[in-house]
Symmetry: C2
């Protein structure tokens, strides 16, 4: 396989765009990413999106968005794997360049929740569970996460307030990120007093669904313009793995097996151990997922992940920084775009362009997005050549 | 890129499965394809599907179907490009094997229309048009095709009955195919007298939406079991291209530019001219699409494609056989599975297993599926090593 680099990035502030359409968000992100790359001409567009067919009555985004971006003729397709859709789009873009089928590709993540309101958004997100056996009984991704968290609290005899550190750290980092939806710091007391949404999950355990668009330009190093300004960021590991979708099918509710497998495979390809990464953009759609992802990646033993948060080891100067721009919790969770935001944020870190959010001397990044309760996990290892 | 072969195929009869779920259709097709391949172990599953999130309230098919197929742990993702979704899944599977990222992959096309009835199906298919500017005015894929046909009849001064040959030939071939939805022959008179659905399209211009599932196993030749029984079928060309989605954005309503481009690119990769293929499985969702696809591929000048049907040149013993198992028209149009059915049918021809539908001495196949009015086109060239 050819070497693949990320040559351009863009992101729109995550939030609620009541006055801008899905296509407008998408095209804006594409133009910014192409500009950042020095106007590389893409051969293909891989789109991570979950909800457009249901919330915007719009399928077939490949043709729609490539048209409006002025890229008629190129290859374009939507990838969907629930919340892991953005990571899936990144992986397909990676394979297209690595195989030699494309010289340069765009990877776009775009999601628009604000085309609908209220119950229809809940119904749309419930399609990410097993519809016939879970959603039919009222299960949604949030109530699924609540069941997982309840089991964790019971199994490991951990109090709910043990998870405060995840929300507090995410908001600390989000407060510095101008693209974050929530830029307010929160305290552990605020976390403990937050309203219950779905027991034991409270409002500050849950990342907000939000609109967003982010894009990447991938190419091979030899095709990069000579005057490229930034340190080169390479994709040195890429893996996607699945677990059983329905919770009742899982062998162990508290083991994110797909996440573990994809970390192992991506690290093997990159030739590093997980412990060698300088930070980890993980899928903290729920605080419990942050803990379980840290455990699956090997940063903590089962039942111990929450301690990394309590001990400050997930802060930007900690043992394993996570959610360095606020994560899904504070930056916002733009559905199928979340995985692309993670990649954009990791590239900013690896280029040394992360400003107030910078992790010192970052050379290796691990990014991972999840679909469902880690029913799908996509993990990438990025490396900067600047150090 | 590595050489890629199709080592296993399966298809379920296309029709209405009121009593079988989407996951059941999918898993059945997967098991049959794996059996046909000699039980190759797949590393990944690429799914072509359009409507499950809307019609079955089920997104995240990758995790659901890999779970139920007993393939937990592998990579699995849904590809969506409207009616071209099956072709897109085949192309991604091809890239995964060609890049070396996977040794063997499953490509699955599955669609289930019968989870809903009536207006909701029309609304679902309308998401394949430009929702904000077309569907909002009542446009559906069928009324879009009607506008294209009306323009063709006007521009080239052709009577509607000139298209009879496409429907008649499709039903002739479908009558011999035990997996076809419609196994009745029809006459040119029946075509002319068929009820108008959306002027000028009548009932026999339009392929029926139907349930179906079909699957392929792709691998590299050196990984094929030694005892493999069938002639080897290679994917020697693969291309995907997009055009403007909305009809009002097209430069020329009667030029399927994405189809032309993808044929040129796929043939260039295969090292052949389009005229060298022995048959052409095209996307005859509407008779007018068959004519325009033949013109885009270079088998007829603009405005002349219908003559190939009238002169019998699209029959199995003609100059360029199309729809050799009945096409979308008579075999049925299983949405995002259609492109995988085309590949299965082409492999049967190239293996010499097409029975009564066999095209004599078939060495090269061209298969092409379209999304919308050729807003997306995916073309593959397959080659048999048996001749």
């Amino acid at each position: 396989m050819s070497e693949v680099i990320i040559a351009g990035i863009s992101q729109l502030p995550v939030g609620e765009y009541w006055d801008r359409s899905l296509r407008e968000l998408a095209v804006t992100a594409i133009r910014l990413a192409l500009a950042d790359s020095g106007e590389i001409q893409p051969d293909a567009l891989f789109i991570g999106n979950i909800h457009a067919p249901v919330l915007s009555d719009q399928a077939h985004l490949g043709a729609l968005i490539s048209d409006y971006a002025g890229l008629t003729g190129i290859e374009a397709v939507t990838l969907e794997s629930g919340g892991a859709s953005g990571g899936a789009a990144l992986r397909m873009g990676y394979l297209a360049v690595a195989s030699g089928a494309a010289d340069a590709v765009l990877v776009l993540g775009v999601e628009k929740f604000t085309d609908q309101i209220g119950p229809s958004v809940e119904a749309a997100t419930a399609t990410l569970t097993d519809s016939d056996y879970e959603a039919v009984h009222g299960l949604t991704p949030t109530s699924q996460a609540a069941l997982v968290m309840q089991r964790y609290l019971h199994e490991f005899d951990v109090p709910h307030e043990a998870f405060a550190g995840f929300a507090v750290t995410a908001h600390e980092n989000g407060a510095l990120n101008e693209n974050a939806m929530f830029r307010s710091r929160i305290t552990a007391e605020a976390y403990q007093n937050a309203s219950i949404v779905c027991h034991p999950l409270n409002l500050l355990d849950i990342a907000p669904n939000a609109d967003g668009a982010a894009a990447l330009v991938l190419t091979r190093p030899e095709l990069l313009p000579k005057e490229a300004l930034f340190p080169q960021v390479n994709i040195v590991g890429s893996s996607m793995a699945n677990d059983r979708l329905a919770l009742h099918d899982r062998l162990d509710l508290l083991s994110f097996d797909a996440a573990r497998l994809s970390v192992q495979q991506a690290c093997r390809q990159a030739g590093i151990r997980p412990g060698e990464v300088d930070f980890f953009e993980l899928h903290d759609a729920y605080t419990i997922f942050a803990a379980l992802s840290l455990e699956a990646a090997g940063f903590a033993e089962p039942g111990q992940g929450w301690k990394l948060a309590r001990e400050g080891k997930i802060k930007r100067d900690g043992l394993i920084p996570i959610s360095t721009f606020g994560g899904l919790k504070a930056r916002g969770n733009p559905g199928g775009a979340a995985g692309v935001y993670q990649a954009v944020e990791a590239v900013l870190q690896l280029r040394g362009q992360a400003g107030a959010n910078q992790v010192a001397s970052a050379q290796y990044a691990m990014i991972q997005c999840l679909g469902g309760a880690a029913a799908t996990a996509v993990t990438h290892i990025l490396k900067s050549d600047s150090l």
